[in-house]
Symmetry: D2
Subunit: 139 residues, 4 copies
């Protein structure tokens, strides 16, 4: 399983830039290490839900995408992986601040991946904790 | 707990129209019954992720919003409720089709709400199943 | 997928009686319908955790077993199915009372099953809600 | 929140010994550090489910109890805490081997606790991953 090309931060950011459905969010990759990817969600008033809180949709989307890129970092862009299950615990609200999301792969199988993601603010306070499963699609 | 005004479909659609963070999705409320709300996600190529599948973010967001509106339907707009926990099982991909999301409240407490949401296509095939917890914010 | 023998309540209770790891719990099958199984957890002081509450372990175990039997009811005893994922929301404590657990299959695939389970007391009050995934083991 | 007495491994094992509902499992505490507790599930044929696998019930129970003790280690025995939500991903089967369960508190609030637990075998292979929420009961 070491044959897949490891991807650079620039390459992963190119994937993001080419994903039209993510355009409203402005996500960018800060770093990518072994089985791990760190995504930044820059604060934008357009992502706030009523109450002045970054929307749960944005937080969940960031975690889902961070894991997608962590898998891509291990396995390259040729394989197609899709989310099969995801759970989010919202622990603290994000208010007018960037969100930093770190996805970590705990189990990297040939057909399934399982891992966690943590969304924090720039001060390191935990905002949300996620567990995520992906499956590879064989066409 | 029967004092809160029950809201009409038109009123809930007005809430959606005033929520800027939901603008990219085009959600609309189809119906609202006791402890239940049905939301429509109209197909849009801008919501597809690579592989021609409606993005998980869109599906999760629809379920989260449908539950938010189901609570609003019971409790009105004065109280502030936020998602505390949400789990999604992705069972089948949505491809170039509308998504119909039905949220149902199973437990309606003073401080917490728990319920399920089901996303299906217009043929009634189950696409995703969600369990969602909300908590009331007391300021 | 209609070739598997549908099993009777008596046959499912025989499976329970032969499962030594379940002996401490006294589970019994009340009914088994299409894609659905109802399990009874008779009250026993030995299942209480401190505080006089039926233990979470007992509640989770009942749901897991009810789904296992619901699958067996559809697919027979020759196939081996194991739990891959399970989430429980504890909504109300059970106190010195029987627990009735109903498992329902929402998606019955060749390799995976997804469904819900609800644990209630005999008055029909919802105690816990579960979502459960099983996978078939191919040896 | 530093006023609660920190409990010793011996004291936590005494709590286990006095919990009749856990008698079938033989759990013991190996260590207890800040916001963390490690529990051992000794292998016993009586905990196997059909197929020669340690039952999911045992694995889930171990994680639930390990978190309960981790909270007790921080907060003492006077407060009553109950599980409100728990999700388990079963990643690998345990076969005729001890299970080591490490629970870690990620958020320690006055009313709620959130954390993870990992069940591994003695070789360090991850068997199951859990996320767990507890709430304090105020009587």
């Amino acid at each position: 399983m070491n044959e897949a090309p490891r991807m650079s931060v620039d390459q992963l950011n190119t994937v993001l830039a080419q994903s039209a459905f993510l355009a409203p969010y402005g996500f960018s990759v800060r770093s990518c290490e072994e089985k791990q990817c760190t995504l930044i969600v820059p604060f934008s008033a357009s992502l706030e839900r009523p109450g002045g809180i970054v929307s749960g949709m944005t937080i969940m989307g960031a975690a889902d995408v961070a894991m997608w890129l962590a898998i891509m970092g291990e396995r390259g862009t040729q394989e197609q992986w899709v989310t099969t299950d995801m759970k989010t615990a919202f622990l603290r609200s994000a208010r007018q601040e960037n969100v930093v999301c770190v996805a970590r792969i705990l189990k990297l199988g040939k057909r399934t991946v399982y891992g966690t993601a943590e969304c924090s603010n720039e001060q390191g306070q935990l905002l949300a904790h996620h567990v995520i499963s992906y499956a590879r699609i064989f066409e």
